[in-house]
């Protein structure tokens, strides 16, 4: 056991986070000068920087971080390295909420840029609570049933989405398609301020649950005998994941893969201790999404590519490479 290893990891992760954020602030279709970055007024560059670049970089980090840390927590809870926020219904619920909003509350969506995120957020929460209710028996959440309940609820939201998409008109269909591709393009300060409290609260709560998640990796029975608050941990991890992922992806649309890949990257470098894995997954997830967003912005400028496509395009081969490299090391 070398205690210096996590320290080195965090040093590099924080360095990478700062670098990626800096690149994100500097990169884009509009040329922004140093003077404009440092508080210029009036010019387009200065306005672009304040109105768009800064909130966008922050949102990329918040959303990617939320996906990363929730992925790590859920993989620990399910004791399954394939778990990610989609598994407990967050993503399916958010999509159903979004498409419901687009189809049934069209005029509302035009009126306020909050309307779609609110629909998606409510959908995410409702689906997660449904999953939890199905998997509860005598006040206990059965993790094995939770997985199946997640699959069932995902199928149900999929069916709901299918029905609504079937009944949707052409423009609603396109709106939904682009929401489901995910993008940080529309991010403003309101998205940052709306999701920040949820993400921060959930992140703190999940990191605080690190020791319990370590115990839970041996299964609920062993964890209970080690004095871990098993039931309350299960519930709080589910709720925290739904809040953080729901609140952030509500604004950005579906962004897959980060919740799955970030914890794996971390574990390959520094093992399984959740007190390291959770915060490190936040940073890795944040870097991944912010970095992918930079590419999304410049690949076809002045047009934009949905960031979800970029994440999958770069992330999948990277993930495969890591797996090949880490083959001999468990996981």
């Amino acid at each position: 056991m070398s205690p210096s290893r996590p320290a080195i990891l965090f040093f590099f992760l924080i360095l990478a986070s700062v670098a990626v954020t800096f690149v994100s602030l500097r990169t884009g279709a509009v040329e922004v000068t140093w003077a404009e970055m440092l508080g210029g007024e009036g010019s387009t560059g200065a306005r672009v920087f304040r109105v768009m670049r800064v909130p966008r970089a922050l949102m990329g980090f918040l959303c990617g971080g939320a996906l990363g840390i929730c992925g790590a927590a859920l993989q620990g809870l399910f004791r399954n390295p394939l778990a990610d926020p989609a598994l407990v219904g967050v993503s399916g619920g958010a999509s159903l909420g979004a498409v419901g909003g687009i189809v049934f509350a069209g005029p509302l969506l035009g009126a306020s840029s909050y309307a779609l995120p609110v629909c998606a957020f409510l959908g995410a929460l409702a689906a997660t609570f449904l999953v939890q209710a199905i998997a509860s028996q005598n006040g206990r959440v059965l993790v094995s049933t939770l997985l199946l309940a997640g699959i069932a609820v995902n199928a149900l939201t999929g069916a709901g989405i299918g029905w609504m998409v079937y009944g949707a008109n052409d423009s609603q269909l396109r709106d939904f398609t682009f929401w489901s591709l995910g993008s940080l393009a529309g991010t403003g300060w309101h998205s940052v301020f709306s999701s920040l409290p949820f993400v921060v609260l959930s992140t703190v709560l999940l990191i605080w649950r690190g020791r319990t998640l370590n115990a839970l990796s041996l299964g609920e029975s062993d964890a209970w005998h080690m004095g871990a608050p098993v039931e309350s941990a299960k519930r709080s991890i589910l709720v925290a994941s739904a809040l953080a992922v729901g609140a952030s992806t509500a604004f950005t649309g579906t962004i897959g893969f980060i919740g799955l890949v970030a914890p794996h990257v971390v574990r390959i470098f520094c093992g399984a201790d959740h007190r390291v894995v959770l915060p490190a997954s936040f940073l890795v997830g944040g870097c991944l999404l912010t970095g992918a967003d930079v590419l999304a912005r410049i690949a076809r400028a002045p047009a934009e590519v949905p960031v979800g496509i970029v994440v999958a395009t770069i992330g999948a081969p990277f993930f495969v490479a890591l797996l090949m490299r880490g083959k001999g090391q468990g996981m």
Partner: protein, 266 residues
């Protein structure tokens, strides 16, 4: 004196009563072995005695208190439990596994690491410390979990409960005896140890008291030499057996001849 006692205890599994009306007590400083055929409810009994599962009837007392009324965290510092098999799919190292036990006992930082190292030493697996759990053999993993359990057990062994659920089924002969000898020393130092074992000769060798369970309840309870009667063994396990004196210590030694064919249904 903190005695572990079962009071009119009934256990059910999936709504079916497995064991009814158990009454017994285990004085501190002794090692109780629970034995019996498959499905007799040994593991369920262990989980009820440890407070993990609620009994369907009756109660478990520890030091006169209902075990269900002892706060979870306090109980975790006084009671340890080694499962038959603990599975860990995340890439934990063996030393981190032992550290989990030390932290469960409330130790932090350097103190926790020292306790974990000492426990690995006690379990004879110091050399595996930097290996990944998933790369160890089943027996090696079990010994690391034994180290984790030892790390959770405070230095002060009095007033402590140690539950071992078929702890040696994946171990080789030497390590079976090593683990049970350690358990016995813990008992001698004041802990109450309850272990589920299949091997009646291991039970005879290490148990202070033996509890035989059969379908429906307790068949026999007492010192191994009293409990291990050929008739009792054949009734409980459906085998014809002889009990002879152990050539070195004179204790009971069970020699099984063959299985008694199933009796036709009544």
């Amino acid at each position: 004196m903190n005695t572990l006692a079962a009071e009119n205890l009934s256990l059910s599994r999936d709504g079916r009563t497995v064991v009814g009306g158990l009454n017994f007590s285990v004085p501190p400083g002794s090692l109780l072995v629970v034995a019996g055929p498959n499905g007799a409810g040994k593991s369920t009994l262990l989980r009820v005695l440890s407070g993990e599962l609620p009994p369907s009837q009756g109660r478990v007392l520890f030091g006169g208190r209902d075990i269900a009324s002892i706060p979870h965290r306090e109980l975790a510092r006084r009671r340890v439990f080694l499962a038959q098999q603990s599975e860990c799919r995340l890439p934990f190292l063996a030393c981190e596994m032992a550290l989990l036990g030390a932290e469960a006992a409330g130790h932090r930082g350097r103190a926790a690491r020292e306790r974990a190292a000492a426990a690995l030493e006690m379990a004879g697996v110091s050399h595996l410390g930097s290996r990944m759990m998933s790369k160890l053999s089943g027996g090696e993993q079990q010994r690391v979990h034994w180290a984790r359990v030892l790390a959770q057990l405070d230095e002060q062994t009095e007033d402590r409960l140690v539950f071992l659920d078929e702890p040696v089924s994946s171990l080789d002969l030497a390590h079976q005896h090593e683990l049970l000898a350690r358990a016995r020393r813990l008992a001698k130092a004041g802990a109450t140890v309850v272990a589920v074992l299949h091997d009646l000769n291991l039970a005879a060798r290490y148990a202070d008291e033996l509890l035989l369970l059969n379908d429906g309840g307790m068949q026999s309870h007492g010192a191994p030499a009293q409990v291990l009667e050929p008739e009792t063994i054949s009734r409980v396990f459906q085998v014809s057996a002889q009990v002879i004196a152990h050539p070195t210590d004179g204790g009971p030694l069970v020699v099984v001849k063959d299985r008694i064919p199933n009796e036709p249904a009544e």
